[in-house]
């Protein structure tokens, strides 16, 4: 972000039409924002890696059952779709 991010503040103690003001974030708030973004991205990557591993494990399990001679219908009945 090149521009200073802003916050829209809605002061509900004021009459309608006079409630909104736009204020720039403080340096500390900007730093927290950056940290949250980094954490969220790391969590997304981790979650997607876990999902990919689960899918790979499930497919490997099905392949092993096929190798043992089970049909797809039997495998689905056994472990689900």
């Amino acid at each position: 972000m090149s521009e200073i991010p802003v916050r829209v503040v809605v002061d509900l103690s004021k009459p309608k039409g006079e409630r909104e003001t736009i204020i720039p974030l403080t340096k500390a708030e900007i730093e927290e924002l950056k940290a949250q973004g980094i954490i969220a991205e790391a969590e997304r990557v981790e979650r997607e890696a876990i999902e990919a591993q689960k899918a790979a494990d499930a497919q490997a399990g099905r392949d092993a059952l096929v190798a043992l001679g089970l049909t797809e219908a039997q495998i689905t009945a056994l472990v689900g779709a």
């Binding site: 829209v8 809605v10 509900l12 004021k14 409630r19 969220a40 991205e41």
Partner: protein, 168 residues
């Protein structure tokens, strides 16, 4: 029971990182925040709600059921009420929707249970849906609610509406 609009804010002047409702009237039973948000970032973005300026995660207890392309995971990494916001990888002009329900917000002798639901459109790889249950472990009345974007800004035309549930 009534459902009364306190205020609606639309970012019609341009993007902003967050929306803050402050000096919330204390004459309701519960509060409901309805959000229609889109982010300006290009990666996963979420909104972690903050009550009364308290962004210390340890002061909240929460668990999320997070769905992504049909799979769901319980996740305790988000103590604060949270929901995802579509980013620039999602469909153009697509806004996510979320509802935050806060019980007994004006009480000064009870913690505050919160239920949050949210969803964004499916862009094949990121279509996060969330159901999040949490408690703000504080007996204070809620007088302000901050709705921040975790990455970049809330896009222009994002909207948040604050309602109160009344007894009549």
């Amino acid at each position: 029971m009534g459902y009364e609009l306190i205020e609606t804010v639309t970012l019609d002047a341009g993007a902003a990182q967050s929306i803050l409702f402050q000096n919330i009237p204390q004459d309701g039973l519960d509060l409901v925040v309805v959000c229609s948000f889109r982010g300006t970032g290009s990666a996963v973005t979420l909104c972690n709600v903050v009550f009364n300026g308290d962004n210390t995660n340890a002061n909240y207890a929460g668990v999320a059921a997070i769905g992504n392309n049909g799979s769901a995971n319980p996740d305790t990494n988000y103590p604060r009420p949270m929901f995802y916001i579509p980013d620039t990888r999602h469909l153009n002009f697509s806004f996510g929707t979320a509802t935050v329900y806060i019980s007994s917000y004006a009480l000064t002798n009870a913690q505050k249970p919160v239920l949050t639901n949210g969803t964004v459109d499916n862009n094949s790889s990121n279509d996060y849906q969330t159901i999040h249950g949490s408690t703000w472990k504080n007996n204070s009345a809620i007088t302000s609610i901050l709705l921040p974007s975790s990455r970049n800004n809330l896009a222009q035309w994002s909207t948040a509406s604050l309602y109160k549930i009344t007894s009549s």
